[in-house]
């Protein structure tokens, strides 16, 4: 898999930046959160790519295999995924409440409503 070189990482960076772009450029609150999950998932992909060793197998030990991929990034990302879903859930709960009290989930409309009162 050495044909990949660093190219693999570059694609992952591109993914991260697409997610980041959605978060900062889009005005819809739900869309922002979708972007946030995209951003985070891409960071997870980066971590997991770091743990891969060419020709290795999953770090569940069996007889007759000596080369395993690095389990540590997997552990870190398991934790990070949980953190990610926790953030998403809380963010969406906030969006629901914002919709109920402002009547909209668009950033500029919320700003307009805040300024008017």
């Amino acid at each position: 898999m050495s044909e990949f070189g660093l190219f693999n990482y570059w694609v992952v960076m591109l993914l991260m930046m697409i997610g980041f772009y959605i978060v900062i450029a889009q005005g819809n609150l739900v869309k922002k959160l979708i972007g946030l999950t995209l951003f985070q998932t891409s960071v997870f992909i980066m971590y997991i790519s770091l743990g891969k060793i060419e020709g290795a197998t999953a770090p569940i030990l069996i007889e007759g295999v000596t080369l395993y991929s690095n389990p540590l990034p997997h552990v870190l990302i398991l934790t990070a995924i949980v953190v990610g879903i926790a953030t998403t859930a809380l963010g969406l709960a906030l969006v629901v409440r914002i919709k109920e009290s402002y009547g909209t989930v668009e950033e500029d409309e919320i700003h307009a409503k805040d300024e008017s009162c």
Partner: protein, 332 residues
């Protein structure tokens, strides 16, 4: 070029295409679905990267739970994004380009992908692979590291999930309301007999599978978190097909909250027990005369704690969201 490389490249390209489609699409329902696909694709990529445990979790969380939550939210907030001209995507684009350029710059000194001699694989990781079987006695190195070597991170993870449950509850909780008797719980699923029958067959299967995942985590991919999500998904299915009030009858929300707290406390008390036995916090070898056996017991106990908390918190979150949804619906 072997097949694995081809699959990797295809998966990566599909990820990029999906991400771009999400940027462009204005239909938020579609965007949420594509985000689900994105989760599924990245999970497949994780399998290719040998991260089976992570793939397991990402598939259930990224493609399952978070998509469902987004859809529930969208059902309340509206399907379409407003198209407005007064955003400045150019500024954002510049910022993103700068960040991206810095990242690319940072990769230039990184060891090439897949190199076995990279520093990542050298210092800390070999011990986990070489000694974990002797020290902890289970074949899944990921579970060993997760539950024992870095068990405190996992404690933190359970607390994070618990925090999210508390947060969602604090935000979306309604005062006790009389359950509407007039509304038939099935109204929105339009009498899907087939679905309900199939679901009734599936739910026991799903629960059984959850149990298997819960207790098989030491030998294969799985563990408390994944099992918790699977358990919870059975309840999601039930509540989606038979109505929320029916599902609330099955799981009492007070009991669910108490269980969520007990899961965290179970994890913590394993740590306290090891303190009492004169070892450090979360040192499972204190749980039994035989150190490896103690590790085994400890991992079993904390995975159970994780499983209980995750199941219940997921149920709390999902029910809180759909509870809001139903009330919104009833207003009409």
């Amino acid at each position: 070029m072997n097949m694995e490389t081809v699959i990797n490249m295809v998966l990566l390209s599909l990820l990029v295409v999906t991400a771009i489609a999400i940027v462009r699409i204005k239909d938020l329902f579609a965007a949420a679905m594509l985000a689900g696909i994105y989760g599924l694709l990245s999970a497949s990529f994780f399998v290719m990267m040998d991260a089976v445990d992570v793939a397991f979790t990402e598939a259930s969380v990224g493609a399952g739970i978070s998509t469902l939550l987004m859809l529930t939210t969208l059902a309340m907030t509206g399907r379409f994004e407003k198209i407005s001209g007064n955003y400045r995507p150019r500024l954002a684009l510049v910022l993103v380009a700068l960040t991206g350029a810095l990242l690319i710059y940072g990769t230039l000194d990184m060891p090439a992908f897949g190199t076995a001699a990279a520093p990542v694989h050298e210092h800390v990781a070999p011990r986990y692979l070489n000694d974990s079987y002797a020290e902890i006695g289970i074949p899944n190195a990921v579970t060993s590291v997760l539950a024992s070597y870095r068990g405190f991170d996992t404690f933190g993870e359970v607390v994070v999930i618990f925090t999210a449950g508390i947060g969602v509850l604090a935000l979306l909780m309604r005062a006790e309301k009389p359950t509407p008797r007039t509304q038939t719980p099935t109204a929105s699923m339009h009498e899907h007999m087939v679905l309900r029958i199939v679901a009734k067959m599936l739910i026991p299967l799903i629960l059984l599978f959850g149990l298997y995942v819960q207790f098989h985590g030491e030998y294969g991919p799985g563990g408390g978190f994944q099992a918790g999500v699977i358990f919870a998904s059975a309840f999601f299915l039930y509540s989606m097909l038979f109505g929320l009030s029916e599902a609330r009858k099955v799981v009492n929300h007070v009991v669910v909250q108490i269980l969520a707290a007990l899961g965290v406390l179970l994890y913590g008390s394993v740590g306290i027990v090891s303190l009492m036995n004169g070892k450090n916090f979360l040192d499972y070898s204190a749980l039994s005369a035989d150190a490896v056996h103690g590790q085994h017991l400890g991992i079993l106990a904390i995975e159970l704690g994780v499983g209980i908390t995750v199941t219940t918190v997921m149920i709390i979150i999902f029910f809180a969201f759909s509870g809001r949804n139903q009330i919104e619906g009833e207003k009409d």
